[in-house]
């Protein structure tokens, strides 16, 4: 396909995020052994895998919370620049990374709202202070985002006054007011009580339906099957198998994946 230059300057046919041969090692431990993944505009990719498969590390590499030890990473059309310091690879251009991070939303397992600020202040912080947008306009947009995740009536609460599910929904609102080109979710429901998982998944499903580009590390098999456009199964730091959820979950495509899924349905 011939790449087309879009109005925003990005190549519409080029992937939003492209990782090639991504590796990560901690000392003698190889967490990622060469992961290739292209995420295109509008894709909702569920990243599955057993604990220790490297799925969270991979996601954290995509916005440079972890610096990959090897491989190349292209985010929003920009190659992330690295430099070597001794045997260690480092970020070469901190401003490039900050710029990319401000366009890549991240939702954490433990919500990580700033405890000294109210919900509304949490949501307004990034657009006002990182992106330098007009406080007045941001406030309107923040309230809209909170309304959408059902938390407008909690705008002036502090994070410690909210339930886990409410905190995670606030964290999602905080991510989307940054108008990110892609959203990363790192096990967004794993720290929640079972009865609170649904409210968060519902919000995420709404975002997916909007056509947002999302990468989701999750253990929610039903969500991966019903909502995502592609499922990537990691094992021991590499992509074991990937494909459309309806093909993968039918079974018979990969024996390890089938065993992984059956293990979950037995538990659930």
């Amino acid at each position: 396909m011939e790449p087309i230059q879009s109005a925003t300057g990005a190549l519409s046919a080029s992937p939003v995020i492209s990782a090639t041969g991504l590796t990560k090692r901690y000392g003698a431990l190889d967490v990622l052994r060469g992961v290739d993944l292209d995420a295109h505009e509008g894709e909702v990719i569920s990243i599955l895998g057993a604990s220790g498969s490297g799925k969270s590390t991979f996601l954290r590499c995509l916005n440079l919370l972890e610096v990959p030890s090897g491989g190349t990473l292209n985010v929003l059309g920009e190659d992330v620049r690295f430099r070597m310091k001794g045997a260690e690879r480092q970020i070469a251009d901190a401003r490039q990374v900050n710029r990319l991070r401000s366009q890549v939303g991240m939702v954490f397992q433990n919500f990580c709202l700033w405890s000294h600020r109210t919900v509304l202040q949490n949501v307004m912080e990034g657009p006002v202070h990182v992106q330098g947008r007009n406080r007045h306009e941001v406030r309107e947009e923040a309230e809209k985002a909170l309304d959408r995740v059902g938390l407008l009536n909690r705008a002036d609460y502090y994070p410690s006054q909210l339930s886990g599910g409410q905190q995670q929904r606030a964290a999602i609102a905080r991510a989307i007011v940054m108008r990110p080109r892609v959203l990363l979710f790192d096990e967004p429901t794993s720290a929640l009580d079972p009865e609170l998982v649904g409210e968060v998944l519902k919000v995420m499903q709404g975002l997916a339906a909007e056509g947002r580009t999302m990468l989701i590390v999750t253990h929610e098999m039903a969500f991966a099957r019903d909502v995502s456009s592609r499922v990537v199964f990691l094992e021991k730091g590499t992509v074991r198998v990937q494909g459309a959820p309806q093909d993968l979950f039918k079974g018979g495509m990969d024996e390890r994946f089938d065993r992984f899924v059956s293990h979950f349905s037995r538990q659930g």
Binding site: N98, C112, V130, S160
Partner: protein, 227 residues
């Protein structure tokens, strides 16, 4: 009980309160500025800077304040280059010697409080800010320092109270603060029990005011923990 004598004593001792407060306030402010510097050294990536900070803290926490006051008051006059320096007009005065010793001493404790408060800021919340594109001064100004202030405030309030009480040691180098006046009164009247009791009550009243002030400030600054 000799009420007229107690009232007369209180009246005399209260004239020492402004000096006591001035010593405490000046040392608290100067000590805080120093403490920020020491804490910055302690958090440096440059190892010798961290050693320097650790040495400083160890020296001032490991020796009695009274000895530090004596060294500044009696010792600095023996050092020729100090006598020749611009600082001498200050170091000649007992007041500034006391302020210097108190400031250095409280800065060592203050630096530890600041270091602890910065370390108490949850790493996850800092990571969330980084993931949004914050770094450097913006990250410190918006996320780290406001939270560290909340964590450190109560401890720094304690340090202020300790400092206020420590100013009484300045009386041994001739300063007529509350304790100095009390001591002089005792040597005239030999009624040490009553006089020092009144002095103690004055310090108690002052620390109560400080403690209440810190408490109110804490309530104002930490709405998030008032659930």
């Amino acid at each position: 009980m000799d009420w007229p004598f107690l009232f007369a004593t209180a009246k005399t001792l209260l004239t020492g309160v402004p000096l006591t407060l001035r010593l405490a306030a000046t040392s608290l402010c100067a000590g805080f500025v120093l403490a920020v510097g020491i804490a910055a050294l302690a958090g440096s990536r440059f190892a010798p800077a961290r050693w320097l900070a650790a040495l400083y803290v160890m020296l001032f926490q490991g020796t009695p304040l009274l000895v530090q006051i004596f060294i500044v008051y009696y010792g600095f006059g023996q050092i020729d280059f100090l006598r020749a320096s611009f600082a001498w007009p200050f170091l000649q005065q007992a007041y500034w010697c006391a302020v210097l010793a108190l400031s250095l001493n409280t800065s060592a404790y203050g630096a530890e409080i600041i270091r602890g408060a910065i370390a108490a800021v949850p790493a996850r919340e800092i990571e969330a800010a980084r993931a949004m594109g914050m770094s450097g001064l913006l990250l410190r100004r918006r996320i780290i320092w406001p939270q560290a202030l909340q964590y450190g405030l109560a401890n720094y309030g304690n340090e202020a109270i300790l400092l206020l009480k420590a100013t009484s040691l300045a009386s041994v180098i001739t300063l007529m603060d509350v304790t100095g006046l009390a001591y002089r009164l005792v040597s005239k009247t030999y009624r040490s029990e009553e006089i020092f009791t009144v002095a103690g009550l004055i310090y108690l009243a002052l620390t109560f005011v400080i403690a209440t002030g810190v408490h109110l400030l804490e309530r104002r600054l930490t709405p998030c923990r008032r659930v």
